[in-house]
């Protein structure tokens, strides 16, 4: 489909603009370059600081006076970083997979079937989207507490088994776009509804499923509040929770040595997977966002 350097939507505007000579575009290109430098500089600064010895971290020179790649070895020893990485990976993949599948089931039901209470229940989905998570946060904590799981990693992903309102809405739009004849044909062939869902609906809605997976993976990789509530031993931590702990542990005012070069290395390591994810899934991220806006 669209290659990375071509905008995904080629409206009439695009065709019109293409006729504009490059000289006329040049001022904008220059301005955008200035903004790009501003936007990328924090990344470059972070990368460069993570490669400096401790005494040089805050010299703020972009090219380190002295290189110290050993920071990246040390961080694995200074903190159970590998453990956090693994925790984040498995929790996030589980969370993203389950929410994708469960939301697809629900979205398909709303898109394909006609049944009593359908509009009411779909209204419930929309209402859930509006509901701030803080309202339900405390009782949900109490549920896990009474199950004896408030000190475990289950609360971070298990509720995704039941789908999520935003993704249900997103995927329903996609399922509605599939011509009904495809499903009728499958019914004629004697497929059960579930086979039809699996063999026809899911493959055709693949872009929406990928968008769901990527969005949820990113959201979980970033989430700080839930781990703060449920994770207590540093063996359980996810990456954001671990980074948060490191920030306290290493800083001088909390009795650390001010190992900011290690913190920076940890920040680079926590950001890198997201940048890689974006590099591969850029098209889906952009598509997902525009989908969000279209309904507004």
């Amino acid at each position: 489909m669209a290659t990375p350097d071509v905008p995904p939507i080629r409206g009439p505007w695009y065709r019109w603009q293409r006729g504009i000579p490059f000289a006329k575009q040049l001022p904008f290109v220059v301005l955008l370059t200035v903004f790009s430098v501003l936007f990328t500089y924090p990344f470059l600064w972070l990368l460069s600081s993570s490669l400096k010895p401790r005494a040089y971290v805050f010299t703020n020179r972009l090219v380190p006076e002295r290189w110290r790649f050993y920071n990246y070895v040390e961080i694995w020893h200074a903190a159970p970083f590998l453990r956090w990485f693994w925790n984040s990976m498995y929790i996030d993949v589980l969370a993203a997979l389950t929410v994708t599948f469960a939301s697809a089931l629900t979205a398909f039901a709303f898109a394909y079937f006609r049944f009593p209470l359908r509009n009411f229940l779909f209204g419930c989905v929309l209402a859930t989207m509006m509901l701030p998570s803080m309202v339900t946060m405390i009782p949900v904590y109490l549920i896990w507490h009474h199950l004896g799981l408030s000190n475990s990693q289950y609360p971070l992903w298990a509720s995704n088994l039941f789908g999520s309102a935003f993704y249900i809405f997103l995927q329903r739009q996609f399922f509605l776009g599939i011509p009904r004849e495809y499903f009728e044909a499958a019914r004629m062939d004697g497929d059960s509804y579930f086979t039809m869902f699996r063999r026809i609906a899911l493959p055709l809605a693949k872009p929406a499923l990928i968008v769901t997976f990527l969005f949820e993976f990113k959201a979980k990789w970033t989430d700080l509040m839930t781990p703060l509530i449920y994770l207590h031993g540093d063996k359980q931590f996810t990456i954001p929770r671990g980074l948060y702990a490191l920030l306290g542990e290493f800083s001088p005012s909390a009795g650390g040595n001010g190992d900011y070069e290690l913190i920076m290395a940890a920040l680079v390591l926590s950001t890198l997977p997201m940048l890689i994810l974006f590099a591969f899934g850029q098209r889906y991220f952009i598509e997902g966002i525009t989908l969000q806006g279209r309904k507004g």
Binding site: D5, L32, S49, R114, F115, L131, E249, M264, F278, I286
Partner: protein, 321 residues
């Protein structure tokens, strides 16, 4: 045939309608639909609807997990009115949101309208502007902590090169919120992508007509682009406001990590942070539930006001004006 058609036009009575409605449950399709729905339905009851009711009930008690619970009536809500931290954090949150939302919208509008005017390198720039969005919020908060440090941070150093002595972003109460806003609008990419898509969808003939009438570039932007993308602007206006009012991760990382607990300035206390502390640091779960309902109410009111106010400014294609 004519008779059958005539008969269908007669509205069925309430009893017939009810029978038909309940009859729907006898059909196999309905059972299948509910089978597909069952995971979500279970989750909705257990993790959304149930907790909502529970939270409302809790807000009238002094529940704290450990001690015995009493019914305290409206005491929690009355306590909110006299709690100085509630007022303080609410004020902080509203001010910060009022600064953040327009700043974010203006910057993304600027970037998007520039991106729409170039044909080369467009995708490259878009990627650059989107990369910060991919950065974990904890990393954003940590980077803010180090970059905006008043003593050795890069931002103040850069400012000193152009002859400005930068403020103490993290301890001067007047500069904490602007600093936070700058940190937040680094992640402007989502909006930029949205606006860019909206601008590119504006029909070209409108611009041609405007040009023929001798409209300047500014007039074309103001009278063609802005009205045509106003639904998107409105949508992001609401989403950003809700996001701002609930902001937690970045500020909690920067100002409420274990090393800053003693020094955290009250100017950085956001409402959700205070709620979180009441709930999961002090375990005043009843009080925290009341706080949660208050912010829910505030978000609802703000959103409704926004919807009503923007009726005048939003243009929906095809709707009678």
């Amino acid at each position: 045939m004519a008779v059958a058609a005539e008969r269908r036009k007669v509205a069925p009575g309430p009893r017939t309608r009810a029978r038909r409605w309940f009859g729907g449950f006898r059909e196999r399709d309905t059972w299948w639909a509910f089978a597909f729905l069952s995971p979500w339905l279970f989750g909705f009851v257990v993790f959304t609807a149930g907790p909502m009711v529970a939270s409302a009930v809790l807000s009238f008690t002094d529940y704290s997990v450990i001690q015995t619970t009493h019914n305290v009536g409206l005491a929690n809500y009355r306590a909110i009115g006299t709690d100085p931290y509630v007022l303080k954090s609410l004020k902080n949150t509203l001010i910060m949101t009022a600064m953040y939302v327009p700043a974010d919208m203006l910057l993304s509008l600027l970037l998007a309208s520039m991106l729409a005017r170039i044909t080369r390198l467009g995708g490259f720039f878009r990627t650059i502007f989107y990369l910060p969005v991919m950065t974990p919020t904890v990393a954003v908060g940590s980077m803010y902590l180090l970059l905006f440090n008043g003593n050795y941070g890069l931002v103040d150093k850069a400012l000193s090169y152009i002859g400005i002595s930068g403020p103490f972003w993290q301890s001067d109460p007047n500069w904490i919120k602007p600093g936070i806003v700058v940190m937040l609008i680094w992640q402007v990419g989502t909006n930029t992508v949205l606006y860019l898509a909206a601008i590119k969808n504006v029909p070209q003939h409108l611009y041609e007509a405007a040009e023929m009438d001798g409209a300047s570039a500014w007039r074309r932007f103001k009278d063609v682009t802005l009205p045509m993308i106003s639904p998107t602007l409105f949508f992001t206006f609401i989403i950003l406001t809700i996001y701002g009012l609930q902001l937690f991760d970045q500020i909690y990382t920067a100002f409420y990590n274990p090393s800053s607990q003693n020094t955290a300035s009250e100017s950085s206390l956001m409402y959700v942070i205070y709620l979180f502390q009441q709930a999961f640091v002090y375990f005043h779960l009843g009080y925290a539930s009341a706080l949660a309902w208050l912010i829910f109410g505030i978000i609802m009111i703000v959103t409704i006001v926004q919807v009503l106010a923007s009726k005048r400014f939003v243009y929906y294609e095809g709707s009678p004006k």
